[in-house]
């Protein structure tokens, strides 16, 4: 193994990193994308992610079935999303403030109930490798793929298609772009946003299940370390397009692997800089893309951050 060139090792680590790390970002970003498309911002998805991780681990531990854990994480996430969706329809309620409250509520709840699950070991999700045919152990490990990643990609494609081609997609987009127009069409704006936030919460919860049941694959309180918040930012980066959300998540995972990979092959100077690679890259792409007229057109018109 040590005969491989450092370049190959770093390249493999980046590909592997994209496949390993990106899934939670993808799910949270897709959930947030759906919510924001309907005209509401849910900043609480960090809390949803953490609570999802805890529920998935706990249910997997008690039931012995990790997939049941994934389902439980989604349900816990939709519950938090539903609370956010309900509270925000009350008059004079600010969705950003409620989002922050829900974030603290979600993490607090997860830490409180999660205490008992730090020590025990729960069954994890199985994965399969796309690289098994190569016979090279390194490639095989780098190309380990969890079914949830594929689910995320399918959801991204389905969402993108549904936004463009279905009546439901049109209703969500219309609610997000102009509430008066939606009301004129006889659509209940509050109901659409409630359902979108709930569904968005479900996706974010499933993202949490990936954290505790696959990678890094254990429950502890520092598990998310802000990934939910970054994923919310990724939606803006991806300009409210589900497919671009998926790519943004993969890119974020890939660049996140650069720091450790470079240190492992002996390029050790400036690791703080390389560890910051995902954020620097995000900034650069934002600056490069934000100037275009197209970018302004993609923003849902009802979002409280842009109004």
């Amino acid at each position: 193994m040590s005969g491989d060139s450092p370049f190959i090792i770093v390249l493999l680590a980046i590909v592997g990193g994209a496949l390993r790390v990106s899934t939670p970002f993808m799910f949270v970003a897709l959930g947030e994308c759906l919510t924001e498309k309907s005209g509401r911002v849910n900043l609480g998805l960090e809390g949803t992610l953490v609570l999802g991780a805890m529920c998935a681990y706990a249910i997997s531990f008690h039931s012995g079935s990790p997939w049941l854990g994934v389902l439980a994480a989604g349900c816990a996430g939709s519950l938090l999303g539903a609370i956010h969706g309900y509270v925000c329809k009350l008059p004079r309620v600010n969705d950003i403030a409620i989002g922050i409250a829900m974030m603290l509520f979600g993490t607090g709840l997860a830490f409180f109930f999660g205490k008992a699950y730090i020590q025990p070991s729960a069954p994890r999700l199985e994965s399969f490798s796309l690289g098994a045919w190569t016979g090279n152990q390194q490639i095989e490990t780098a190309l380990q793929i969890n079914p949830l990643l594929l689910v995320g990609v399918v959801v991204a494609i389905a969402m993108s298609w549904a936004f463009a081609n279905t009546k439901w997609g049109l209703i969500v987009r219309m609610t997000g772009d102009s509430a008066p127009a939606a009301r004129a069409m006889g659509v209940s704006v509050d109901m659409v946003r409630f359902l979108s936030t709930t569904a968005g919460g479900f996706l974010a919860g499933v993202g949490g299940a990936f954290l505790s049941l696959f990678y890094p694959g254990s429950w502890n309180q520092g598990l998310s370390s802000g990934q939910g918040l970054m994923a919310v930012a990724l939606v803006i980066f991806a300009r409210w397009d589900p497919i671009r959300c998926a790519f943004a998540a993969l890119l974020f995972g890939a660049t996140g692997a650069i720091g450790p990979a470079l240190q492992s092959v002996g390029i050790t100077q400036g690791y703080y800089f390389f560890n910051a690679a995902p954020y620097i890259l995000t900034l650069l792409v934002m600056i490069a893309s934000a100037g275009s007229k197209q970018a302004a057109r993609n923003v849902p018109g009802e979002l409280s951050i842009t109004k």
Binding site: G16, V21, T141, P216, S218, G222, S225, A257, A261, N275
Partner: protein, 367 residues
């Protein structure tokens, strides 16, 4: 959270006192009884720093006449002062132990001034005689001796001669653990190199897992770490088929196939010393620190990853450390070729606490 605990504790204490009074009428606590209050920054079962303390407190509770009150997940804010104050006022703690770096200044310093009859001790070398009250003090263990033993066992358990070290931040205590681990490995296996990856913070589970994957991909077959909760590092390495050495507490249950041994604190020694001195009414030392020679650090029992040769060499090394045989035998160069340690230093020499370099044999950089 802390409010809940306080009210629960005061409730329990109230009922207990009532029961005692009701049963005996007059009996109060015997003079020799000692109550130890201890505050943790994280959960008691984190497979790391907090668990190491909690294990010691559990052992302490078995002593007769010693009572321990614990509170976990206390942040390094005013909350820790409130927890400690309630231990003094509600539980009549004779000594309060703060186990997190940020508890010391200003919280424990102020409390020590306010409650001059109560002893306060803090688990990091921050106390100084000219600045701080006399009822305050510090205690800490030289964990680098445990990592040195780890290094010896790892050097004889590796096949690729590449050992991986996942470290949080390049501060002196971390660097001293890395250097000691390398010196141990080099002593028994001159071909061994230690590859270090700094993650940048104490608890970043995803990046820690990435670091382990990167090290294993680069050919390392033994992984160890200095991060807050070693759980993710040990589990990821085990999944990748690499052997592991632990840190802070025993992680042996997490790696049934590859665990070699681990560097652990033995806080039990400190806490029993405090309890005994308080029970006898003797003054407590303001500074209590040591390594193997004072039975203040230990190594986890050998796991399935340790070879017979490794076990034998590690056991000898422990005996050597108990006999105060030095780890840092000068002159030693840093990994840029400059001589940084000119002579042989005693294991507890303050010069070694100021470490800001990685020695030759470690691949990595602190900037």
């Amino acid at each position: 959270m802390s409010l809940l605990n306080v009210s629960r504790r005061s409730f329990l204490q109230g009922t207990a006192a009532g029961l005692v009074a009701g049963a005996t009428g007059i009996r109060s606590a015997a003079a020799a009884d000692v109550t130890i209050g201890i505050v943790y920054v994280g959960p008691r079962d984190d497979f790391g720093w907090n668990q190491a303390h909690a294990t010691a407190v559990k052992a302490l509770k078995t002593l007769s006449g010693v009572k321990a009150v614990e509170e976990e997940n206390v942040p390094e804010t005013d909350a820790c002062a409130k927890s400690m104050e309630s231990m003094v006022n509600l539980d009549s703690a004779n000594i309060v132990l703060g186990t997190s770096f940020g508890y010391f200044d200003p919280f424990m310093v102020n409390l020590a001034k306010k409650y001059s009859k109560v002893e306060f001790r803090h688990a990091a070398p921050l106390w100084s005689a000219d600045k701080h009250p006399k009822n305050l003090g510090s205690y800490f263990g030289y964990l680098n001796q445990g990592h040195y033993v780890d290094g010896i066992a790892a050097g004889l358990s590796t096949k690729s001669n590449k050992l991986g070290f996942v470290a949080a931040k390049p501060i002196s205590s971390v660097l001293s653990n890395i250097n000691s681990f390398m010196l141990g490995a080099k002593k028994v296996n001159p071909n061994a190199v230690v590859q270090v990856i700094f993650t940048g913070d104490w608890s970043l589970p995803v990046r820690e897992a990435e670091a382990v994957n990167a090290l294993v991909d680069a050919g390392c077959d033994v992984i160890t770490c200095h991060v807050d909760g070693p759980k993710v590092v040990i589990e990821t390495a085990e999944k990748r088929g690499a052997k592991t050495c632990g840190h802070n507490a025993s992680q042996a249950p997490l790696a049934p196939k590859g665990f070699i041994t681990g560097a652990e604190y033995k806080w039990e020694t400190f806490y029993k010393a405090y309890a005994t001195a308080l029970g006898k009414g003797e003054p407590l030392p303001n500074m209590l620190a040591g390594g193997y020679e004072a039975d203040m650090v230990q190594n986890s029992p050998f796991g399935a990853g340790a070879t017979e040769a490794a076990k034998a060499a590690a056991t000898t090394a422990i005996a050597d450390l108990k006999a105060k045989k030095p780890i840092y035998v000068g002159p030693l160069k840093d990994n840029k070729g400059k001589v940084v340690i000119t002579k042989t230093y005693d294991n507890l020499d303050p010069f070694l606490d100021q470490m800001d370099y990685l020695l030759e044999g470690v691949v990595g950089s602190i900037t």
